[in-house]
């Protein structure tokens, strides 16, 4: 461990600059300590500290000249690793007329982050799990994270809202940085954590730290630990929260919460994002831009104009059950690092430690949580489409078409998966794959908005962007050798068509297949021509019902669940369901009443799919991401949530 006198801190800036880094660190602006580019020690918040309380943050003068005598302000380092606004790719019309999608990758100069607190190191490690250790790695985050030179500063004084001791994320910076630093009354102490940290340290001409200075550091850490007035009991928290989704405290906190999203903006780990298209007037150049989003925003949980979390209570519960609950099963670590920012910057001073303690004090039985899936990081840039070409269009009904698509190299698809189809400058939509045909594949689209309308209007030869495939697919292996009942509603038949084709192509494995299909009117029946071929297969039975019809319709009229009552429902069978959630709910009730076990029922869930790669947080359904854990769930996985409002 080495030491510099306070007056010698300029050497650190010189060394970082000499190694080619610009320095971003704490400085006073707009009555707060924020992270901005610094020229030298004079830019640091020398002699300032931050006074914090629920809903309160004030800078006050210290009675010394400490440069790191504050804890954390409204800024977080995530803004520099995962910027609030960022271009993901550009779509350009190339001279040959084809559309190209070019990823936009960071081109910032090498950057040193000065003054990273222990809780902030922990926060970066949390976001690493989100962006680097899921099914895909986010290359923009990865590049910035790899490049960033971290100078950590241990806290020898705790802030009034800090609780990192109880979340085991501080106050000492003991790993994860290039250079660890501490500020004692007379000196700065330094320790290198990496080779490049050692290179900077070598330039400081620092003297060895004394035994007394080392002792002061240890005492300071212990003092800070003892000063923390809050604790967050993390043991069993995910199970506790998911067992208490109806706790009265959620309604009580919703009375105070303004749903402003401040907590998510200042949180160093919150990662939800949105994306939109931007294009120039010529239409030749278009880009997708990612922006920070918040689970408190109304648009966050909206699908086709319906908000699945309409109340503030739903959204606050989503935030907190995710942050300290399902984060653990999703990423193997809690999303809370004990920095206290969400408490200070909440306009009404909601204190999550208080809310969690209140729930724990009067809790119902805990709920089991899903086991974390092992990460399988793919190396491609999941956020950039590639070009696909329309090779055919089949009109299925007045507002539904099937696009026959091809792309090079061909996609490897499983029935039940989906892709993200996009048109440059217009937008993107999650569309299920409705079949494959050699290397080509089919996607069936209902015209319900600007993007799906434009996709529906595509003609053979035209191009579009495609990402994916995503999602898990139907459990066709698990269903082998048993009866299969396919229950579809409306356009929900599309993701099941590939499964039905597979079942019919393997009659020895699937000797008994029954399709029960409901639509709005006879004109809305999809794949009618193909169905005639299915009907002639041995071992296949089919029943169709519509909600309304005129006298020309000779078939059934009534809700699809009526068809389920026509025949005994085998408890041995596997039931594959896709359709409106309400339809699936009543089907599940009928099947459960008939004694079909929960683990024989498979449901295709729908939530707002934005990135589809597990980065944006938009498609969360309780502890799951529909994009990577679904879209198909076994009923017992989601039984606690399925059919409930607000999730």
């Amino acid at each position: 461990m080495l030491a510099l006198a306070h007056a010698e801190l300029g050497r650190l800036f010189d060394a970082l600059h000499a190694e080619g880094y610009r320095v971003i660190g704490p400085t006073v602006r707009s009555a707060a300590i924020v992270y901005e580019e610094l020229d030298g020690p004079a830019d640091l918040p020398v002699g300032w500290t931050d006074e914090q309380a629920p809903g309160r943050y004030r800078l006050v003068r210290r009675d010394d000249d400490a440069a790191f005598g504050y804890v954390v302000g409204p800024h977080t380092w995530k803004a520099h690793l995962f910027p609030p606004r960022e271009r993901l790719f550009q779509a350009r019309r190339r001279p040959d007329g084809r559309v190209g999608f070019d990823p936009v990758l960071p081109d910032e100069p090498p950057t040193a982050f000065l003054g990273v607190r222990a809780c902030e190191v922990a926060a970066m490690e949390v976001q690493d799990r989100v962006f680097l250790e899921g099914p895909h790695a986010e290359p923009r985050y990865a590049a910035r994270r790899r490049q960033a030179f971290l100078v950590g500063v241990s806290c020898l004084e705790a802030g009034q809202l800090c609780f990192c001791a109880s979340t085991s994320t501080g106050p000492r910076v003991d790993h994860g940085v290039d250079l660890a630093m501490a500020e004692l009354p007379g000196a700065y102490l330094f320790e290198a954590g990496t080779e490049r940290g050692r290179a900077v340290l070598d330039r400081l001409s620092a003297r060895p730290a004394t035994a007394e200075e080392r002792r002061h550091l240890d005492e300071g850490i212990e003092r800070a630990r003892g000063q923390m007035g809050r604790t967050l009991a993390t043991n069993g928290l995910p199970e506790l929260l998911f067992g208490n989704l109806d706790h009265p405290r959620w309604a009580a906190v919703a009375e105070r919460c303004l749903a402003c999203g401040n907590c998510t903006s200042v949180c160093p780990t919150c990662f939800c994002s949105s994306a939109h298209e931007e294009s120039d007037l010529t239409g030749d150049d278009a880009a997708r831009v990612r922006t920070w989003d918040s689970c408190f925003s109304l648009e966050h949980a909206e699908i086709h104009g319906v908000n699945v979390r309409p109340t503030v209570e739903d959204r606050y519960r989503q935030w907190l059950t995710h942050k300290v609950g399902s984060w653990v099963s999703q990423f193997g670590v809690s999303g809370c690092v004990g920095c206290g920012r969400c408490i200070a910057w909440c306009p009404v001073g909601i204190d999550l430690t208080e809310e969690l303690a209140a729930i724990r004090a009067d809790a119902a039985a805990p709920a089991p949580m899903p086991v974390r899936q092992a990460p399988a990081a793919a190396t491609d840039d999941a956020l950039v489409p590639r070009a696909a070409v329309v090779i055919g269009v089949t009109r299925e009904s007045a507002d539904v078409v099937t696009l026959h698509l091809a792309c090079d190299p061909p996609l490897a698809l499983r029935p039940g998966q989906f892709t993200m189809l996009s048109l440059p400058g217009l937008g993107e939509a999650a569309i299920s794959v409705s079949g494959t045909w050699g290397d080509a594949f089919e996607q069936t689209i209902r015209d319900v908005g600007a993007v799906s309308g434009a996709l529906s209007a595509l003609r053979p030869g035209q191009q579009l962007g495609i990402r994916g495939p995503y999602g898990n697919g139907w459990p066709l292996d698990a269903a082998r050798g048993r009866p299969v009942v396919v229950i579809a509603g409306g356009i929900g038949l599309a993701p099941l068509r590939g499964a039905i084709r597979f079942l019919l192509e393997h009659p020895l494995d699937y000797p008994d297949v029954r399709l029960v299909y409901g639509t709005r009117t006879p004109d809305d029946i999809l794949f009618g021509h193909e169905m005639l071929g299915w009907a002639s297969r041995p071992g296949f039975r089919m029943a169709i019902t519509v909600d309304r019809a005129d006298l020309s319709w000779r078939g059934d009229v009534g809700v699809v669940t009526r068809l389920l009552r026509r025949e005994p429902l085998s408890p041995e069978a596997t039931y594959l369901m896709c359709g409106p959630e309400v339809m699936m709910r009543f089907a599940v009730e009928a099947l459960t009443a008939a004694g079909v076990p929960s683990d024989h029922l498979y449901l295709a869930m729908e939530r707002h799919m934005k990135c589809a790669a597990g980065f944006c947080g938009r498609c969360q359904y309780g502890p799951f991401f529909v994009c990577k854990d679904g879209p198909i769930f076994r009923h017992d996985q989601v039984a606690r949530l399925f059919g409930r409002e607000g999730f």
């Binding site: 209902r446 509603g489 356009i491 599309a494 409901g518 909600d547 019809a549 006298l551 359709g579």
Partner: protein
């Protein structure tokens, strides 16, 4: 109010009809003697496809149960002709209004050759009056069937396929 095309099934004895009753959920709450009492006022009829069994707004007479075949219930929609609101399959009750009296709420047509068990509404009402045990058991079952149909109608009202996009 039945069409002339209705064919009576002759020669079915009381035991056969009692056996048919036993397979219908509406009569599962009755014992053998009670079912025999119902069988005495029941007959089986077969109708070809295209038969109109009864028409909306006309007086409701007999209660039927579809044993085999396929019926539709339709309602007049002014200028838009008749709209089918429900189809009925084997085991379904047809014309529960007959138990209450009044007029038919829909028009029932056979879209396939169908076999029905038919009970005179007036005789059934009289039987239920005479034997309240039969009346209670039957009313409970019919009420359950009507409640299920109400529930299904509500689901239809939700128009759940109207806005989904997947």
């Amino acid at each position: 109010m039945s069409d002339a095309s209705v064919l009576r099934v002759a020669g079915l004895d009381a035991a056969t009809i009692t056996g048919l009753l036993a397979r219908l959920p509406a009569f599962s709450g009755l014992d053998d003697a009670e079912r025999a009492a119902v069988a005495a006022i029941a007959r089986v009829e077969q109708v070809p496809a295209g038969t109109t069994l009864f028409r909306e707004s006309e007086p409701a007479d007999d209660l039927r149960f579809l044993l085999d075949g396929h019926l539709t219930l339709g309602m007049r929609f002014g200028g838009r002709g008749e709209v089918i609101v429900l189809s009925l399959g084997p085991g379904d009750i047809v014309g529960w209004t007959a138990l209450l009296g009044g007029t038919w709420t829909a028009t029932a047509r056979a879209v396939a050759p169908s076999t029905l068990l038919r009970l005179s509404g007036a005789e059934l009402a009289a039987l239920c009056e005479r034997d309240h045990d039969i009346g209670y058991a039957l009313t409970r079952r019919l009420f359950a069937a009507v409640a299920l149909r109400l529930h299904d109608t509500r689901l239809q009202l939700l128009d759940m396929f109207a806005r989904e996009a997947r």
